[in-house]
Amino acid sequence: MAATATLPRAATVPDRRKTFDWSQLRTYVSAAVILVWCLVPAYWMIVTAFRDTAFTFDSTFWPTHVTWDNFATVFDESLGNHFGRNLLNSLIVAGATTIVALVVGVFAAYALARLNFRFKFAVMGFILGASMFPGVALVTPLFQLFTNIGWMGSYQAMIIPDISFTLPLTVYTLTSFFREMPWELEESARIDGCTQGQAFRKIILPLAAPATFTTAILAFIGAWNEFLIASQLSSDATRPVTVAIAYFAGAQPHQEPYTAVMAAGTIVTIPLVILVLVFQRKIVAGLTAGAVK
């Protein structure tokens, strides 16, 4: 492996371009491989989503037999698909989970990033340990508990266990963001005559907003993509998209409706991908926060 590679900025030194640069060519080839590997399966999903069911297994690389039918199937209630409902459910569950995690977690993150106190390590360890907790260890007792109290299949039956992984994620990410923030500005603002409230509103809030927003996106994606808990604890009325896609009904009984599933997958994925691409830098910062510093 060519380790000249690991010279991020040095490679741009202009005079290296004078002769033909083999290492640069290797870089481009590798980059192309990465692009193909990451994008082609997703591309295939979209192509299939627009393909006529009768040509499900057509292997032409570009779109053929283009149709919107599969998207109609996805929302066709007479087939037993309630995808609009499922989308709304996912929004409710992921949205509520994110809000709870954020509202509660922001205080903890502030304390962990800004204050000195005993047991800081223990607290952080507990929160991190919580994020690694296996979902099945929650599902079994909650299955029984929610059945007993009649919460089975309700929104809170999913939101509560979802908090177990979104809240630690939120605290962990926000803590790292908060540590990076120039808190000195707060003090200087107060020296300049701002009240504490003003300093908070005018200095801290604008600074913390992007970090909080990024964290919210990460938490939202985590809850939106959740499958195990929802597959066990949701009901017809509250089923989110991930579970709906796994049990999709086609036009015929017993049928594996590949094209419709790909259409549903496309609908679920496109907004996320746009969100992620727009906020790419922030999200990468959020994902890697804490892990490397």
Binding site: A3, P8, R9, Q24, A31, M124, G125, P141
Partner: protein, 335 residues
């Protein structure tokens, strides 16, 4: 339980107050800050206790109860009563009613599921580390379109696992594109090893980006001067990689590997949707879910075992392999 994790690691990272000048005022400050901190932390800790500790304690209590059994005289189910360690023996020693669990029972699948879970974990994490490292190195280089590549790797990461599973299930269908592309006639989900590899490939596709980004972040912290100096000293590319890149990126790498390992140990969505656990792709998580409908209490014992296994692996990582996630998260400023 998880709180034990950090205590082991504190030794290596001295508390910050010790570096501060003026111990006394710092100590007083710490007391007021401590009070503040507890107020701010209480909501999070209480909420986590409700959503995690309560269910876990409940599961442990359940795991010592017998599942309802059929009374042969009446033909009706009756409450089981205390079970002692019976449910644990059932899984760990494959005991079904005093005999060894025969093939075709969930009990007989425990060690298989354990093996499958660890197979998936070791293979996917190893592949993801190597590929992720490679991707990260490419992404540190300077070339036109680098930001496009960095954006592209986020696409598999953003797609929900359930959708990923369906997508690869379609790719690996008998008439699917994988077989056509390679001119093979493999029944990917029809026998053990193809099914396992299908799951591995999907998982690698989905999660290598995450690994690559974590490693990339670590690589970017290595100052260029270090490489320049090594070059001047005549270090070869390979030497620079093994003696500079690897050691310097190791903390970030270990945390990334720890995260991925713990995630892989609870793998559920991909095999559950792609194969329903057939052909020896049943992971521990799938086995628990299958058991829930055959008896809660036995399932509770199994989920407790799963949780202990994951805890032990995390412990080993932190204690012996130096994956210091907590340290990374609590120390302030860049090293």
């Amino acid at each position: 339980m998880s709180t034990k994790l950090p205590e082991r690691t504190t030794a290596g990272a001295p508390a910050q107050t010790h570096h501060m000048p003026g111990r006394e005022s710092a100590d007083r400050k710490q007391v007021t800050q401590g009070r503040w901190a507890s107020v701010l932390l209480v909501p999070t800790l209480v909420l986590l206790a409700v959503v995690i500790i309560y269910p876990v304690v409940n599961a442990i209590i359940m795991s010592f109860q017998k599942d309802a059994g059929l009374n042969p005289a009446t033909g009706f189910f009756e409450q089981g009563g205390p079970a002692g360690f019976e449910n644990y023996m059932h899984w760990l020693f494959q005991q079904c009613n005093g005999q060894s669990c025969p093939p075709g029972t969930l009990g007989s699948q425990f060690w298989n599921a354990m093996g499958t879970t660890f197979f998936f974990t070791v293979v996917t994490v190893a592949l993801e580390t190597v590929l992720g490292f490679w991707m990260a190195i490419i992404m540190t280089r300077s070339f036109r379109g680098r930001s496009a590549v960095r954006a592209a790797v986020l696409v598999p990461w953003a797609i929900p696992t359930a959708v990923t599973a369906k997508l690869w299930f379609f790719i690996f269908a008998f008439d699917g594109i994988a077989n056509k592309l390679f001119g093979t006639q493999i029944l990917w989900t029809g026998s053990e090893w193809p099914a396992k590899w299908a799951v591995v490939i999907s998982d690698v596709w989905k999660t290598t980006p995450f690994m690559a980004l974590l490693i990339l972040a670590g690589l970017q912290l290595i100052p260029d001067e270090v490489y320049e100096a090594a070059k001047v000293d005549g270090a070869s590319a390979w030497q620079r990689f093994t003696q500079i890149t690897l050691p310097l990126v190791k903390p970030a790498l270990m945390v990334a590997i720890l995260f991925r390992t713990l995630d892989a140990l609870r793998m559920f969505d991909l095999p559950y949707i792609m194969t329903q656990g057939a052909n020896n792709t049943t992971t521990l998580s799938i086995l628990v879910v299958d058991q829930i409908r055959e008896g809660f209490n036995s399932a509770a014992a199994l989920s407790t075992i799963t949780f202990i296994v994951i805890f032990l692996v995390a412990f080993i990582f932190v204690r012996f392999l130096g994956a210091n996630a907590v340290g990374a998260a609590t120390s302030s400023g860049r090293k």
